[in-house]
């Protein structure tokens, strides 16, 4: 092991007198061992894992994600939970107030309404009056009469004392619970489809504009400028009048200008990164344009894109609600959150309970997606990586 000759730096053999030791007594260390850096004791963390870790850490973000998942779940199974489906019309049972088993014993959501009637028509409500809230005199051209304010069990009055409509019924006697979740389903499907289309078009156009630049970019930018500047409201109304209302025309309306935000974002990213040295290096090594774009440039923009998409989803639901209010939304028998809201708004003065559930679902969706979007933005931001 130590038989080999040992030399000093100037080439002279190491003499036997050094340190008073002979060559036989000296031994070389680490000659046979391979030396390498110690392996990390901790697990290595990829970008994806890191994002997931930061995403999980924020309580608000996780709660928002759970709320979104719950609403999506209800959008899938909700319409089947109630014994009444969302299309069956029962004109004899229209405008029933909400009634929920269990909670009805607490005196709320028990299917009662306060009515103001003339005293002599009290017998119509025989047996259904839950509570008498007093009477007052009214004098008109036909003489004076007594008006009664009574709390009536509308379910008993309509002869369905053993049925429960959890959120009540609308003016065609359809179950609002099933309609709400069916509407949530329609709204969410529309929103996800719109965002998916916008994302695809935006990515492709943005990548082409940003990567190739030059006259291609110029022409596409001019075209986008034109479409962008058409006032959206008249165009939307015109398109829907032209194509009829429904999910596909609505998608067209939302996609017409919707992809431009993504396209501009992607284009900026491509402009920023396409001349970096590492991109040049990959091109020198012969990678194709598509590969350069997909593997080397696009990942820089992925965080922004996902965040933008998360924020775009509630916007579509929100805008669809606005269009539904104007009667331009999803086609008639089908509900959407917007249709439910606008129905509720029209009946607000008489049946205020109709507008409450869709409002709550919409507000929850908006809040949850916005908060989750903020959480995602922080999670994807590598500058606060820990």
């Amino acid at each position: 092991m130590n038989n080999t000759n040992v030399y000093l730096e100037n080439g002279e053999p190491l003499g036997p007198d050094i340190l008073g030791m002979t060559a036989e007594e000296l031994s070389l260390v680490q000659r046979e061992e391979s030396i390498s850096d110690a392996a990390f004791k901790t697990e290595s963390i990829s970008y994806g894992k890191d994002v997931w870790r930061r995403f999980r850490r924020s309580k608000v973000t996780v709660v928002s994600a759970v709320i979104i998942l719950l609403i999506m779940l209800m959008g899938i199974i909700g319409p089947y939970l109630s014994p009444h489906d969302y299309l069956t019309q029962r004109l004899d049972l229209k405008n029933l107030p909400p009634r929920i088993p269990g909670i009805e014993n607490l005196g709320i959501l028990d299917g009662t309404r306060v009515l103001t009637i003339q005293e002599n028509s009290l017998e119509d409500y025989e047996g259904c009056v839950v509570e008498n809230l007093g009477s007052y005199e009214v004098s008109s051209a036909f003489g004076t009469g007594t008006m009664l304010r009574i709390k009536v069990d509308m379910y008993k009055y309509n002869g369905v004392a053993d049925e429960y409509y959890w959120f009540g019924t609308d003016d065609l006697g359809r179950d609002l619970f099933s309609r709400l979740w069916q509407g949530t389903r329609v709204s969410l499907i529309l929103a996800f489809a719109v965002v998916a289309v916008n994302l695809t078009i935006g990515l492709v156009v943005g990548a082409i504009c940003g990567y190739y630049g030059g006259w291609v970019d110029l022409i596409i930018q001019r075209l986008m400028d034109i479409v962008w500047n058409i006032p959206s409201m008249p165009l939307t109304i015109l398109l829907i009048m032209l194509l009829g209302s429904g999910i596909l025309p609505l998608m067209l309306v939302f996609c017409l200008t919707g992809w431009m935000g993504t396209a501009n974002g992607v284009r900026m990213q491509f402009y920023r990164y396409k001349n970096r040295e590492y991109v040049l290096a990959s091109r020198t090594m012969g990678s194709s344009d598509v590969r350069t774009m997909g593997r080397h440039i696009l990942p820089n923009a992925i965080g922004t894109i996902i965040t933008q998409s998360a924020l775009a989803i509630p916007n579509v639901v929100f805008q669809e609600a606005g269009l539904s209010y104007l009667g331009l939304g999803v086609q008639a028998p089908n509900p959407s959150i917007g249709v439910m809201l606008s129905d509720g708004q029209k009946a607000l003065l008489e049946f205020p309970y109709m507008i409450v559930p869709p409002s709550i679902v919409l507000v929850l969706l908006m809040l949850a997606f916005n908060l989750m979007g903020n959480g995602l933005r922080d999670a994807f931001n590598p500058s606060i990586r820990q």
């Binding site: 500047n229 008249p234 606005g322 104007l326 809201l341 606008s342 409002s359």
Partner: protein
């Protein structure tokens, strides 16, 4: 700078032309007859009307006639919504109420939004901040028609504090202003919320910067540091919002007009489209396109004024 403005105006002009062409053909390709008085009208009269408006000619010829009229600033006459009234006059008649509503709303939005945003940023992470932040997100999350409907229900119907719809009175009297309060509030909430939210984020970031420490170190009072140094820097992203508040007075909200029965321009446009009053529709859409393009140019220029570091006409790349 001048060169940049001229470039922008030329580009906007071409955009304008293309949009007018597109809108013309979209409107005229709508199904249905422009004159659907069929049963009552004498065929010869019908022919006269059709001839007068060149409706028997192919679409491309009609387009030529319309464009020739537009060159003389003749926007035609309304056919159904306000029969016989020039389109320009209809548009001008609808504008005052829209402008009044929007100006009053802007006068409410600007101070409330700014002050709320400033207080939220200064008191960041306190109870006040948390409560107002939740309120702001809530206001942004609820569609304006739900908010307006709820206000109408509780404030006007249940409590009877305000009239339910706008008074039909033409001139701006005190009682008319009183009935405008609810639509003004409904128009304001969303903008107040978005201004407060943006300002809070921007101001909170500026407050942590070094030059704020410098301002404090050279002896400025807290009020001075906020007004002179922090606010100016944090207002850059809001510049276009402020501009839109005062220039956007001409655009009207269809939803608010529907709920409060405001006889505004958007409502007229909706009925014009529904009634196939093509000349009126064209007139209103052209008006909107013009305003929109004009404001886009002004908003771009305003960035350079608010933030001198932004150079106009500089190359975007890199």
């Amino acid at each position: 700078m001048i060169k940049y403005i001229i470039q922008r105006i030329i580009a906007a002009f071409f955009t304008f032309l293309v949009i007018v062409v597109v809108v013309f053909f979209v409107i005229h390709s709508m199904p249905g007859d422009i004159i659907d008085l069929s049963s009552k009208i004498d065929p010869t009269v019908r022919e006269v009307i059709l001839d007068k408006y060149h409706l028997n000619d192919p679409l491309i010829v009609q387009f030529g006639y319309t464009m020739a009229d537009y060159l003389h600033f003749d926007f035609g006459y309304s056919l159904k919504i306000r029969p016989g009234v020039p389109v320009l006059q209809v548009v001008l008649e609808r504008l005052p109420i829209t402008i009044q509503l929007n100006y009053f709303a802007a006068l409410l939005i600007l101070p409330v939004g700014l002050i709320l945003g400033i207080i939220m940023a200064i008191k960041k992470d306190t109870v006040f901040d948390h409560i107002s932040s939740s309120l702001v997100i809530l206001l942004i999350s609820v569609p304006s028609f739900v908010l307006a409907a709820l206000m109408q229900y509780f404030l006007a119907y249940k409590l009877g504090w305000f009239p339910i719809i706008l008074e039909a009175e033409e001139s701006l009297t005190w009682s008319k202003f009183y009935s405008m309060l609810l639509p003004i509030l409904a128009l304001s909430f969303g903008s107040i919320a978005s201004i407060a939210r943006t300002l809070r984020a921007e101001l909170a970031e500026v407050l942590t910067m070094d030059f704020m420490l410098l301002a404090k170190a050279k002896g400025l009072s807290f009020r001075q540091t906020i007004w002179r140094h922090a606010l100016r820097n944090s207002c850059v992203p809001l510049a276009s919002t402020f501009l839109y508040l005062f220039l956007g007075v001409l655009s009207s909200s269809l939803v608010i007009e529907q709920i409060f029965s405001v006889p505004g321009l958007s409502k007229t446009m909706l009925s014009a489209i529904n009634g196939k009053d093509h000349w009126l529709t064209m007139g209103i859409v052209i008006f909107y396109v013009f305003i929109g393009l004009f404001m886009a140019i002004l908003a771009d220029l305003s960035y350079g004024i608010v933030d001198p570091r932004i150079r106009m006409g500089g190359k975007k790349d890199e």
